[in-house]
Symmetry: C2
Subunit: 247 residues, 2 copies
DNA sequence: CAAAATTTGTGCGTATGTATG
DNA sequence: ACATACATACGCACAAATTTT
């Protein structure tokens, strides 16, 4: 427990504001419980209302969560993800001043008919059950914290050399670029939420019962040729999606 | 158990497709378990592979869930909600051939500073802590099944007479229209997911542990004046959001 | 399963300093 | 100088949610 800087009264800065700043500087790892309001009030030598005002401010900034009857907890930072036509994982993470990392979990070529969602995939990419897709499973991290688990499917026919390219490049954008595809855009996303499977929860380092946001994306080339179907799940506590409709 | 129509072979319609249609017509209440594949195969006089092909089709349409080692279950119908610039609850539900109903839970005028999310609301609507908003809480249903719990906040100053209008009209669109606001558009949505509070779970008739999709919407008039901030939660098992980015 | 303890949420009253006109 | 409004801070009591005993 760090030393409390002395609270200055009558110095033009509200006491609750000083306490909020002090607490913010001391925030421990996400999930950590803060001391009860009564303890904080005693420590700072103020009324509990004053502490509550400070906590309210931290909650507004989404730095902590306050739970009735349980306590206050350090919140996880939430990455806002703008859903536009250019899905670029690395750019997104870097825009939040965090270090992106894409870890390949599996990469293979597989026959559409052998996948569980064969029909959905076939319909979306315009393939028959006998066509093959390149399937990439990836875990995306920001500063080593998992924030996205994605499964990408590319029609093998329209993506000659992509499997090899994906092995040798850190980002999907870069890999696509080496096989001559420089513009691909998000055409449609279907956003839902659910509880993760045990495997998914383990990969995303989620506590039991924590939900995930799921996004099913259809990406195409500039001239509307279906290029990629992609299922992504995000830990709901760490990611929010931003949409600005234009139609 | 309804009679099985005879399966016609060689009539240009695949047997699995006929079975899929037949099963679809017989679907019981959500959550009901379908007979084991072996039983269905016997009933239709076909191989189990053929039944599996039919079930696969129903699963693709999200009419059933197939669970490894457990069986197949009638799924809840999912309402796809296209996130565009015109948020219209009733139109959305009717487009799915279901009967919309908006039930007012509470309606009041309240000072911004007295709300928990005072700062967020003030910033979004351009109000000070001392301004007032009209707050409407509503439960949206489709065929008597709750599908949306929303909290709407309108700046009282820019919405004279809205509280009264909301009391007398079934839809928000209609109420706004009576006070002269005929065009309001969605400017921005922030989509996340979380577990519901006990009260929210009860109102939405959710089983424990089931997550909700949450959408925080800023709606404006045609000329970009902030008109409404609105928090909506949807049962994740019954609603999905569709986004087609244009930028 | 029930009672007790812990912790946050809410309401009301009071007092003080500061900006405003 | 005065009145008013407002933000800040304190004290006390009880309600509500959760956890522990």
């Amino acid at each position: 427990m760090p030393d409390a800087l002395p609270i200055r009264r009558g110095g033009g800065v509200a006491v609750w504001s000083q306490i909020a700043l002090q607490l913010q500087a001391e925030l421990a790892a996400p999930g950590t419980k803060l001391p009860p309001e009564a303890d904080l009030a005693a420590r700072f030598g103020v009324n509990r209302h004053t502490v509550r005002r400070a906590l309210e401010e931290l909650a507004r900034q989404r730095l902590i969560r306050i739970e009735h009857g349980r306590g206050s907890f350090v919140a996880e930072p939430v990455l806002d993800y703008q859903v536009n036509r250019r899905p670029r994982f690395s750019e997104w993470v870097r825009r939040h001043n965090r270090e992106p990392l894409g870890e390949v979990l599996s990469l293979r070529e597989i026959i559409v008919g052998d996948l569980a969602e064969a029909d959905l995939i076939g319909a979306a990419l315009g393939l028959s059950e006998r066509d093959t897709v390149i399937e990439l499973e990836r875990l995306g991290k920001a500063d080593d914290r998992p924030i996205a688990l994605s499964r990408h499917m590319f029609p093998a026919l329209r993506c000659r050399g992509l499997e090899e390219a994906l092995r040798n490049h850190a980002t999907i954008t870069a890999a696509l670029s080496t096989i001559g595809i420089t513009d691909y855009v998000r055409r449609r996303s279907r956003i839902s939420a659910r509880l993760p499977s045990p495997r998914e929860a383990a990969l995303l380092a989620l506590e039991p019962g924590a939900p995930v946001l799921q996004s099913e994306n259809l990406n195409t080339t500039g001239n509307d040729t279906a290029l990629e179907l992609c299922f992504v799940i995000y830990p709901a506590s760490r990611v929010a999606l931003i949409v600005e409709p234009n139609d």
